[in-house]
């Protein structure tokens, strides 16, 4: 379908949705930083306007609207012409809405969570920056604009993960996130260059429509896989998945934003954005599927042993992202996007609920929280259960439907192994989710109600305003997590412009996966829920395996080793040595040689008058002799 130019109203609405967060960032960062209330007002109101615009764009435009495209030239340097503008098609409208909603909710939530923090204004400016870059990424009409904001998303997550930069671990995590995603972006950028050099135009619509026709199959696969490297970095897929669990060093609302709608979602979004392009290369899809599967299984195992509440969710994010990629890799555009949507809702909810606990008890450890009396906090306790159910894929929560559609796509594949892996993953998901929930619900010893440890900003947290600022977003998100699943068909129709492709429902699949989920929950009940349970997983009986899982399959250690021994130890040291000794040493050697030569020659300058005379006379005499003999 050919794109149409936007009407004036849509143009300004979209630009408002895109630019208000940026304006808010600039205003807060450079002008109103010292006035907290004003800054908060600016930020939240900009986010609200942006949210409204996004919802209007999602619902207000006609369903069968052809894509709306608007471009202006941003940079022109010979071959590379980067346009700036937006592309509104169902996918970007849906995603725009998700991003705007989550970032608005997170901003509201942070009013309570971050109250009393020194850098709260700065925090809000960064949130705005994050929203701006993610929104611009989502609506980008061309790959180069997408790449630009892709990098900016990386930057804003760097700033936010390392927000409490006086903590070493936080700044370390920010750095790790940035560098590891940068590693993946290397491939992304190369892929873009390959496409640019062969196509000359990186408009997403054209790319999706024409790439297969214009490029050779090998080239499509190569560039698709290269671009997928960026996804691997951004969406924390195997082998670059270890930065995400560390990224929870940032404030919890940031984690919510990061894990649901912005940073990691960007990767999956990119694959969906270029889905027709990927679909042109079965090999590339196979790579996506394989990476997704490996990641999903690995991170599920890691989540099974983590004690840190945020870490459990972090691993679950990684594994759910793996699920999405599996869905996309299996060839179902809808399944991936649908799961992305529902996941955004329930994962944001999970983190925000955990944030309340962490905020209240000042601890990340789920046993500590349980012992502190976590279950007395009614709103977060109920909402976290809903979100957990969604994550585990329990009917009727949203996760069930989206996961079901992914399983459907996997079942359509010729090899049954993928489906088996998917089902195993679902069971594991159910296990670790319910493990955490049971620990929270059925603590072994409960401390006295008033013997609580407080996190930061405790005074503000207990105010009514703070409580409701944090509570309302939870309730809203819980609503979404519950009902979003029933909109599956609507989203399907919407995404395919009202002409959904034939979609196979496997009747036997839902019961099978439900049974597996039940098994997972049951196992967790046996170990953690029932009265006599020791609250120790079956894995604790296999210390080696547990250690393997808890140490993230030693991937971190591997990277640390690589960094320490290969990058620092070998390259950096060798090059430095080379620089000091060989290059610089060579130069110094030349200098020393010159000085030494001068020193040697200085013996000729003995200061002895007669010696100089002697030389002079001798040379004159010899020259004289030479001329006489010659002529």
């Amino acid at each position: 379908m050919n794109p149409v130019a936007p009407s004036d109203f849509v143009l300004w609405l979209t630009l408002a949705a895109m630019w208000l967060p940026f304006i808010s960032f600039l205003t807060i960062f450079f002008i109103t930083r010292t006035q907290l209330a004003l800054s908060l007002a600016v930020s939240v109101s900009c986010a609200a306007v942006s949210l409204l615009a996004a919802w209007y764009l999602l619902l207000g435009l006609p369903a069968a609207q052809p894509p709306v495209e608007f471009k202006m030239l941003w940079m022109a340097g010979a071959e590379a012409r980067i346009s700036y503008g937006f592309l509104l098609d169902p996918l970007s409208r849906l995603m725009l809405c998700i991003v705007a909603s989550i970032s608005f909710l997170v901003q509201v939530y942070s009013l309570g969570y971050m109250a009393g923090d020194d850098g709260m204004a700065k925090y809000y400016s960064f949130l705005s920056l994050f929203a701006w870059s993610m929104i611009s990424l989502v609506v980008a009409p061309g790959l180069l604009q997408l790449y630009v904001f892709w990098e900016l998303v990386g930057l804003s997550s760097y700033l936010l993960i390392g927000f409490w930069h006086h903590k070493f671990s936080a700044s370390e995590a920010g750095k790790k996130a940035f560098v590891m995603t940068r590693l993946g972006d290397l491939g992304f950028f190369l892929g873009i260059i390959v496409l640019l050099l062969h196509l000359g135009d990186l408009s997403i619509l054209k790319l999706n429509a024409q790439a297969a026709a214009k490029l050779s199959a090998g080239l499509v696969t190569a560039s698709a896989v290269l671009i997928f490297m960026g996804v691997v970095g951004k969406s924390a897929q195997f082998p670059l998945l270890t930065w995400l669990p560390d990224a929870m060093e940032g404030p919890t609302p940031v984690s919510a934003l990061l894990h649901s709608a912005t940073m990691v979602a960007a990767g999956v979004y990119l694959v969906s954005r270029l889905f027709p392009f990927y679909a042109a290369s079965p090999d590339a899809l196979m790579v996506v599927l394989a990476i997704g599967t490996v990641t999903m299984l690995l991170s599920s195992t890691m989540a099974m042993v983590a004690r840190d509440i945020k870490q459990v969710w972090a691993f679950s994010t990684v594994s759910q992202l793996g699920f999405m990629l599996m869905g996309l890799g299996a060839g179902s555009y809808f399944a991936g996007v649908f799961h992305l949507t529902t996941h955004a809702a329930f994962k944001a909810l999970l983190f925000l609920c955990s944030g309340v606990f962490i905020h209240h008890f000042g601890s990340n450890d789920m046993y500590d929280i349980a012992r502190g009396g976590g279950r007395r906090l009614k709103v977060p306790m109920i909402t976290i259960t809903i979100a957990g159910a969604a994550l585990a894929g329990v009917f009727p929560a949203a996760g069930f439907f989206s996961k079901e559609s992914i399983m459907g796509a996997l079942a359509g594949l010729p090899q049954p192994g993928w489906l088996a892996a998917g089902l195993a993953g679902a069971a594991m998901t159910a296990y670790y989710t319910s493990r955490l929930l049971f620990v929270l619900w059925f603590p072994r010893q409960i401390a006295a109600p008033h013997h609580e440890e407080h996190g930061h900003g405790e005074a503000a947290a207990h105010s009514a305003f703070g409580y409701w600022a944090m509570g309302v977003p939870l309730l809203i998100l819980a609503g979404f997590a519950l009902v979003l699943g029933f909109f599956g068909d609507g989203i399907l129709n919407f995404l395919h412009w009202g002409r959904p492709p034939e979609f196979f429902h496997h009747v036997w699949l839902a019961p099978v996966s439900l049974i597996l989920v039940a098994c997972g929950i049951g196992l967790a009940w046996l170990e953690f829920g029932r009265k006599k349970a020791a609250q120790a997983g079956f894995l604790s009986r296999l210390p080696a395996v547990e250690a393997l899982f808890a140490n993230r399959w030693y991937m971190d250690a591997f990277y640390r080793c690589m960094l320490d021994y290969v990058v620092y130890g070998v390259f950096s040291r060798l090059f430095t040595l080379n620089d000091r000794r060989v290059v610089d040493g060579g130069v110094d050697g030349v200098c020393r040689g010159t000085v030494g030569g001068g020193w040697l020659l200085s013996f000729l300058q003995s200061g002895l008058l007669q010696y100089n005379l002697f030389t002079m006379v001798l040379i004159i005499a010899l020259v004289g002799l030479y001329f006489l003999v010659m002529h």
Partner: protein
């Protein structure tokens, strides 16, 4: 087109006039010296801004030309002019000079001599960028190099005599290649003129271009920090005082790349085609190598020095691609890197002045102690690692695209240098500005309100051209397009 008013001479001679006035001021009138320097820098800046906005981008080519015969028997002309290539660099010089003078406002030690030498150096820099006559270009080139020695040796720190000597010797060694190159071209062309434009129009024999470009490549390459002739740069930067580092890393290193571009590539296009693979290899090695070595440094200024090596490698790679995008990217990178490095050095300069250390392990948590200085440093560091919407991103983008297009393997290697440079820059940011603060430096003051402005100008420039790259690129492309035609 002949300008009615000699704006270019004004740009160049305003610092010279300032220099003269300073020389006649009494030794202890420090305020007057500062003000005279600042005003002459401001006059240059304003004139540059006027030329920048008045330059006709549709017409392109050389504008604001001033051409007078100087020595007839040797064919030497006083010949100034701007096109899309040197206009950004003149703008860069003006900005860095103005902010540099302002940054050194608090200098106490031998103020008069410092500003006099600095202005002298800048006169040379303007001369090189503006002159279109090889003789003048070379003379100004050396004028801009000589003041470095006293500037570093007197006002520097950390092995200053060593650094100054090394830098001077290196650069003079480069000059020693350039002069034969110029004379070689002069005699072999048969025109007996130093007029760059005439020489370029006449065209030289391929073998003359071959040798000529070789001489220019390595002669100017030394100043551009071309690997492996780069070691003067970190040592010199470490030793130099803040403003000198700013001008030196920000502007002077560009003289080298500009020389390769204006003299080498303009006069000897065939020579570049012959030497391009070697040039590209050296550039790529420089990019990767500089990043890795920077990773192992513990001195803040060394880190910046090596990042300069890495970034100037990008400039060289861009030039070696011989494509419109690549060369434009290289020119843009010169500008962006100049501003960025100036900002880095001016922030580090403040940290060093207040804490008296620039060793990374000793610092830490400076973001809490000196939020302003930290902000500027981090902004510049982010620009350095190619964060979008900051000026150097676009330049790097263009260079990488064209680098990959012309040299796929080298381009990929250079790209991987980007990851390493991200690693080492963030490492510095983390170790120095983040983390728990060192109580020893807890009482150190931040940048004063009035001293924010020079840094803010630099930061604003980075942001402005980062958000609106066309402002810069449209001009550059106009200048580069005719040059690139030579390679076809």
């Amino acid at each position: 087109m002949t300008a009615a008013f000699p704006y270019l001479s004004l740009i160049m001679l305003a610092p010279a006039l300032g220099l003269l006035i300073i020389l006649f001021l009494p030794h202890d009138s420090k305020r007057a010296v500062r003000w005279v320097s600042l005003i002459s820098a401001a006059v240059s800046l304003l004139a540059t801004l006027y030329v920048w906005q008045a330059y006709d981008r549709m017409a392109g080519g050389l504008q604001f030309v001033e051409r007078t015969l100087w020595v007839k028997s040797l064919g030497i002309y006083y010949y100034l002019g701007v096109d899309g290539i040197n206009l950004p660099l003149v703008l860069l010089t003006s900005i860095v000079l103005f902010t540099g003078v302002w940054t050194m406002w608090d200098l106490k030690h031998r103020v008069k001599e410092f500003f006099a030498l600095m202005l002298l150096m800048v006169v040379g820099v303007y001369g090189v960028f503006l002159a279109l006559d090889l003789f003048f270009l070379f003379v100004f080139y050396d004028v801009s190099l000589f003041p470095m020695y006293p500037l570093i040796a007197i006002w520097g720190s950390t092995r200053k005599e060593y650094g100054a000597l090394k830098l001077t010797l290196y650069l003079l060694a480069g000059s020693a290649l350039i002069l034969p190159g110029i004379l070689y071209i002069y005699f072999k062309s048969g025109l007996f003129t130093f007029d760059l434009v005439m020489l370029a129009k006449a065209g030289l024999a391929p073998d003359v271009q071959y040798l000529g470009f070789f001489l220019f490549l390595f002669g100017f390459g030394v100043l551009a920090g071309l690997w492996p002739f780069h070691t003067w740069s970190p040592v010199g930067h470490v030793a130099a005082p803040t403003a000198v580092s700013m001008i030196h890393a920000g502007v002077l290193m560009k003289l080298g790349a500009y020389g390769v571009l204006r003299v080498g590539m303009y006069l000897c296009p065939q020579g570049l085609i012959d030497w391009a693979p070697l040039f590209a290899i050296l550039a790529t090695v420089g990019i990767v190598y500089g990043a890795f070595v920077g990773l192992a440094q513990t001195d803040l200024k060394y880190v910046i020095g090596y990042s300069s090596v890495s970034h100037m490698g990008l400039v060289s790679l861009g030039l070696a691609t011989m494509t419109l995008g690549g060369v434009s990217g290289a020119v843009f990178q010169m500008f962006a890197h100049g501003i960025m490095t100036a900002l880095l050095f001016s922030s580090v300069g403040h940290v060093y002045d207040s804490t008296h250390t620039k060793m990374i392990p000793e610092l830490g948590g400076m973001a809490k102690v000196q939020p302003r200085a930290s902000f500027f440093f981090i902004l510049a560091a982010l620009a350095g690692i190619g964060v979008p919407c900051l000026a150097s991103f676009w330049a790097e983008l263009l260079v990488f695209i064209n680098g990959f297009k012309v040299y796929p393997v080298l381009g990929t290697l250079a790209l991987s240098g980007l990851v390493v440079s991200a690693l080492f820059m963030l490492r510095v940011v983390q170790k120095t500005f983040y983390g728990p603060k060192n109580e020893k430096y807890a009482g150190c003051v931040d940048i004063r309100s009035s001293m924010i402005w020079p840094r803010a100008i630099l930061a604003g420039t980075i942001l402005l051209f980062g958000l609106l790259p066309r402002l810069m690129l449209d001009t550059i492309t106009v200048g580069v397009a005719p040059l690139v035609e030579l390679f076809k």
